[in-house]
Symmetry: C2
Subunit: 307 residues, 2 copies
């Protein structure tokens, strides 16, 4: 099955205790697409500027990603700069130049209309809802968001949440969205807003998936996947989007959607996130093999597996 | 096998968003002893004052805990008061009255000298080392500590760490002790100080055990156990000590010490910690059954188990 991601493609400047890079290919849509490409056919809807050329296209093409939905607009591509200090969990944003992204109006190519799996990366909630409404063939829609939309456009976000199946956010975002500091109670509040499942990403501690009663016919017991403790985190940028790519990509690659598939998807999410942070930018995600991925999946499994 | 715990027995005042209690039985030694008592014979070395009477003794006796090592001194028992706000991960200490605990000099009853498992709860490191040196029959020694000793008596703590097998501390304490902000690197630094294994407690995210190369003949791959997301955390006091009680108590109950036993011990630690926080003080730990414990163990296992 193929999966469509709608989100940002960007150029990033990143500094971390391990070094710094400038003008590297980034953006939620990019990280998601690369991570998902190891599992299934990926299609991208995004906007880029005149500074996005053959070199960048090649990164997608090498992974067999369909970029007919990447619109080229006059002006510059979205640029972001961030610095990570010793606490790698949070970036200090140095600058955000939206550029062509500011007027992004996602256009779905005709050839993409039959896509059955959809991921709405972190963009303005009304745009997310518009895309969802256009994708009539979508069987499963995943969605990301952030504190900026949770606090700034809560009504628009509430509308979007009614249209998605799985929301993927972190602990802080969950508590903020639910107005509740206890995580499992917050999860239930969020599920009451619309999604059938909620994936809460805990950073270095893994992720938990919570289900609405009866969702996917599998009951509401949560499931948790660990992540590997990583000694060398070079660049945490894109870890969450890579997680989403592994999670959604694996689901899209499976015939059936059952509890075991969702559990494995959560592990594959962690695996792709753990690869992403090992190098700056998307470097690690560009050159993986499915064997390496499955090997790490086994390491993650062993990390918590009781006989 | 029996296990000896050396640590505090106290009276606590606790306030949390769920309510407040005064003068309830607490202390690291108490939580540890009660949690471990569901797995093995427990012996306690502690000091109490004249306000500790038959009612408190009965709490230990009902669980078959040997309290011949609890010394009765003139004066009052150690008292602690703390308040938890919405962030239940950290208590604001309202008062600490050490009372008889200030001059605590652990005395090991002759009948305890053959104890093969030892847990040094969070007390002054030199006292921990003294006890360890006296316990010639100890096959496995667990140890706790806190930021107060890590920062205040680093040399004394370093000596103690050379004498223990397993150190059980949280993320912040690990990073502080190792002078290193990356958790797995910090873990390796701590293991180089002496312990063969390090259990890092992640609060609501579970715990990870790191091993020194070749420790217990099981290689150095870490293992991680989750905890159950709990909707109603009434009182987090003693969660870490209850974790240690479940972890060490399960180990002491097993014939052999191998990787599978240590993995299960980590799960049992999480199980006992999760019970402890469901009610104020030690209430939940006083009235459990082994069946309830094993049932929750299965729930924890299911939480991360892939077919």
């Amino acid at each position: 099955m193929s999966i469509l991601v709608v989100g940002s493609v960007a150029f990033d400047d990143v500094a971390s205790p391990s070094g710094s890079v400038k003008n590297i290919l980034g953006g939620a849509g990019t990280y998601f697409a690369l991570a998902a490409s190891y599992f299934t056919q990926v299609r991208v809807v995004a906007v880029v500027g005149e500074d996005f050329g053959a070199e960048q296209e090649q990164v997608f093409r090498k992974r067999g990603i369909d970029i007919r939905g990447i619109e080229h607009a006059a002006g510059k591509t979205f640029r972001w700069g961030g610095t990570y200090s010793d606490n790698l969990n949070e970036a200090k944003t140095d600058f955000t130049d939206l550029n062509v992204f500011e007027r992004f109006q996602p256009r779905i190519p005709k050839e993409y209309e039959d896509t059955e799996f959809l991921f709405l990366a972190n963009i303005q909630p009304t745009l997310q809802a518009d895309v969802r409404r256009k994708m009539h063939a979508a069987r499963l829609t995943g969605c990301d968001t952030m504190n900026y939309w949770i606090q700034g456009t809560p009504k628009e976000l509430a509308e979007t949440l009614k249209l998605v199946d799985v929301l993927l956010i972190n602990d802080t975002e969950t508590k903020m969205l639910a107005h509740e500091s206890n995580l499992p109670r917050a999860a239930h509040n969020v599920l009451a807003m619309g999604p059938r499942a909620l994936v809460i990403k805990h950073g270095e501690y893994g992720a938990t998936i919570f289900f609405r009663e009866g969702a996917f016919g599998i009951g509401r017991h949560p499931f948790r996947a660990p992540t590997l403790p990583i000694e060398e985190v070079k660049d945490p940028t894109g870890a969450g989007d890579s997680f989403a790519g592994g999670f959604m990509g694996y689901i899209a690659s499976q015939e059936e959607l059952n509890r075991e598939v969702l559990k494995r998807a959560l592990f594959y999410g962690g695996v792709m996130g753990s690869f992403a942070v090992e190098r700056f930018g998307t470097e690690r995600l560009q050159g993986l093999t499915r064997e390496e991925i499955d090997e790490r999946f086994q390491v993650f499994r062993e990390l918590t597996h009781l006989e």
